[in-house]
């Protein structure tokens, strides 16, 4: 239809020359919608930020801090106080130590005296990485210094090049440093693990009649209890073995047939007094009986394990009464590792003998039955990283935080006699170790 002429000019003349400035409806809608989308996104973000900060959370927080889950501002202290409600920008990115210290009032001493730098809490305690133990700090926080240790003064008392548990970590100190003499003087008890672990031991005898043969287990004597018999699960330390509970059933302290009561296993004087009182009552005036009884108790019974002064010189002389029996007490360290934590509880699934293999064959009370580092490294092989999931069974965590504490916030349960409690024989092993 060529009726209506269409020339370039006639076509061009129809148009408003500025049409493109007015914008196209599609384009307009594009931008409008884009704006709407952006606003929607922002609103969604904002709303979810007010409802829960999860949206901004870079990861789940640790169990310990789970209580603060919704309240970022508790740790991320507002930039300007009162602006904490403003998501993301209202709060500080870095958590200041003060925020931690507001709860963790007593963090114990850092080894500030030696460390050249004191890092803020968050440098080691990385949050938002899941329901992990916050204390499980990465090695990096330690190795930063300990990989190449320098101290502010003096010489380092510890190894200076520790990269990780498997690399550069020296063997445990008692194993490294304890001498035989030390061990003897340290423990003072004649004890043969191998005998005790024999099958078909006589077992306790009640009224002279043996009750049946028994076979002892490690746990028959070693229990994770603290010195006062409290459950020591928390600390995971083995409680010192006690005579009254662990030994007496077999090793009775009867000293006279007519006296049913056993001598107390407290001090030599108390035992002597109890003996004299009991014998004199049963055998009034019978001095011989008295002497026999004394010999039985001190020469036979006590000196079985303990060193009784005088008794050794006349071991078989039972009818000679000791003037004043002197029994050397035994010592048991409550903690073997001075700067590390070990929990038997955690290792509960492991057979004692897996680590303490030499206990089966040990015949002397002087044997140091502590496993060496290699034993540990069998499992703690450095294959798994702090915070990382267990890759494979058989590979235990090897992070520094596992054994060492930075803060030393928890006082070591060194027995301190309290009130009427008898003093615990427990001691810290390192007290015996040479000081640097």
């Amino acid at each position: 239809m060529a009726i209506r002429k269409r020339t370039t000019k006639s076509l061009a003349r129809r148009h408003d020359l500025d049409y493109f400035k007015k914008g196209s409806d599609i384009r307009l809608w594009q931008w409008r919608l884009a704006l709407v989308a952006l606003i929607a996104a922002i609103i969604w973000l904002g709303a979810s930020a007010f409802r829960s900060s999860q949206a901004f959370s870079s990861g789940p927080i640790s169990n310990a801090h789970a209580v603060f889950g919704q309240k970022c501002e508790v740790c991320h202290i507002p930039v300007v106080s009162g602006m904490g409600w403003l998501p993301v920008v209202g709060n500080r990115r870095h958590v200041p130590d003060s925020a931690c210290l507001s709860c963790h009032v007593n963090t114990g001493p850092h080894h500030t005296d030696l460390a050249k730098i004191t890092e803020p809490c968050s440098s080691c305690h990385i949050e938002h990485i899941g329901a992990m133990h916050l204390a499980a700090t990465p090695n990096k926080g330690c190795t930063e210094c300990h990989a190449n240790l320098e101290v502010s003064h003096g010489t380092p008392s510890i190894a200076t090049h520790i990269d990780s548990f498997t690399k550069g970590h020296p063997d445990f100190r008692p194993l490294r440093l304890a001498s035989a003499e030390l061990r003897t003087s340290a423990f003072g008890l004649k004890f043969d693990h191998s005998v005790h672990l024999k099958k078909g031991l006589l077992g306790p005898v009640v009224d002279g009649a043996p009750q049946g043969k028994v076979t002892l287990q490690c746990a028959s004597c070693h229990r994770v209890e603290d010195a006062r018999g409290r459950d020591a699960a928390h600390s995971g330390l083995m409680a010192p073995v006690k005579f009254d509970t662990d030994c007496r059933s077999c090793h009775t302290l009867n000293f006279d047939k007519s006296v049913a009561e056993q001598a107390p296993h407290t001090t030599a004087l108390a035992a002597l007094q109890f003996l004299r009182t009991g014998v004199s009552a049963a055998h009034p005036g019978d001095d011989g009986a008295m002497k026999r009884a004394e010999a039985v108790l001190f020469r036979e019974k006590c000196s079985l394990c303990h060193t009784v002064s005088g008794a050794e010189s006349l071991p078989r002389v039972t009818n000679i009464a000791l003037e004043t029996p002197v029994v050397t007490p035994t010592k048991q360290p409550e903690r073997w590792f001075s700067s590390a934590i070990f929990s038997h509880t955690v290792h509960g699934s492991v057979q004692c003998s897996e680590c303490h293999a030499n206990a089966l064959t040990s015949t002397s009370g002087k044997d140091l039955l502590l496993p060496d580092i290699k034993t540990c490294q069998r499992c703690h092989d450095g294959q798994s990283r702090p915070q990382g999931p267990v890759l494979q069974s058989g590979h235990a965590e090897s992070g520094c935080f596992l054994c060492h504490e930075y803060h030393e916030t928890r006082p070591h349960p060194v027995a301190v006699a309290q009130g009427s409690e008898p003093p615990s024989p427990a001691f810290r092993l390192d007290e015996l170790l040479p000081r640097h």
Binding site: M1, I3, R4, L11, R14, H15, D16, Y19, F20, K22, G23, S24, D25, I26, R27, W29, Q30, W31, L33, A34, L35, V36, A37, L38, A40, A41, I42, L45, S48, Q54, A55, F56, S57, S58, G59, V88, R93, H128, G388, P389, L391
Partner: protein, 294 residues
Amino acid sequence: MRIDQTHKPWLYFTLAAIALSAIVFIPYARTATQPGGGTPIGLTFGVLALALMVFAALLSVRKRFPVIRIGRSRLWLKAHLWLGFLALPMVLFHAAFHARGLLAAILMVLTIIVVASGVYGAYLQHTLPSKMFRQVPYETIYDQIPVIRAQLVTEAQQQAFNVAEMLAPARGAGATVVLTMLTVPELGAEVAAFGLFFDSEVLPYLQAERPLATRMAMYDRTRAAEEFDNYRKLFPQKAWEPITAIQDIAEEKRQLDHQLRLHHFLHGWLLMHLPLSAALLLLGFIHAFVALRY
């Protein structure tokens, strides 16, 4: 943009990039305890994905300043097309095909929608222009269609007036009257009928917006042609010209309607693509920011 030979290098590049990423990703995903955004490789993918998205979004900025000599627009568009597409595998690799957290899930969905809409748009832009070329010979500038339509109405009215004028009974005085009387019989009724037809059918159609117009009789080309033919039969040949012109005007209007439709298709997908891209970009940045910050 027509996907043609010139896109070959881009296609190869994109495929190569995907393959390379896969080669990196697969062993990593197999070995890592927890493959995801936090791991270095995941992070790398994430950063790449974000960079690609940002680049894709820059096209919009580029279009704002068409004159700046920073590479031809067609280069930009090609890059947008292929690199934008590449963002999707990058995102997938970044997230290791899992979305952890609501934001990440939203981001993932958005990316998929945006890329999908982009692919759809590319398909439309590949096919529709030639369709429009064939089907809309009277094509004009989209934004000016309302203006042109108004002009068409005026023109049609003028032509309708011409019809009436040509067939009007002679007026005035002089020889022309005689001539007119001789050649043109009285056609008052027919002219009136045509006027009615024009006013009731043609004019409303010319004035109607698209959705309404499609329901009108005039929208049907063959039917309209029949109608116009009928009127042509009624009138002497000299009046055919304006009638045909009106028919042509109606045809132009029809085509303009069609152009509107095609144009909406051609650019409508952007209504999805662009806003979602914007949202995606915003959220993506927030995601990156938050993730890197804490």
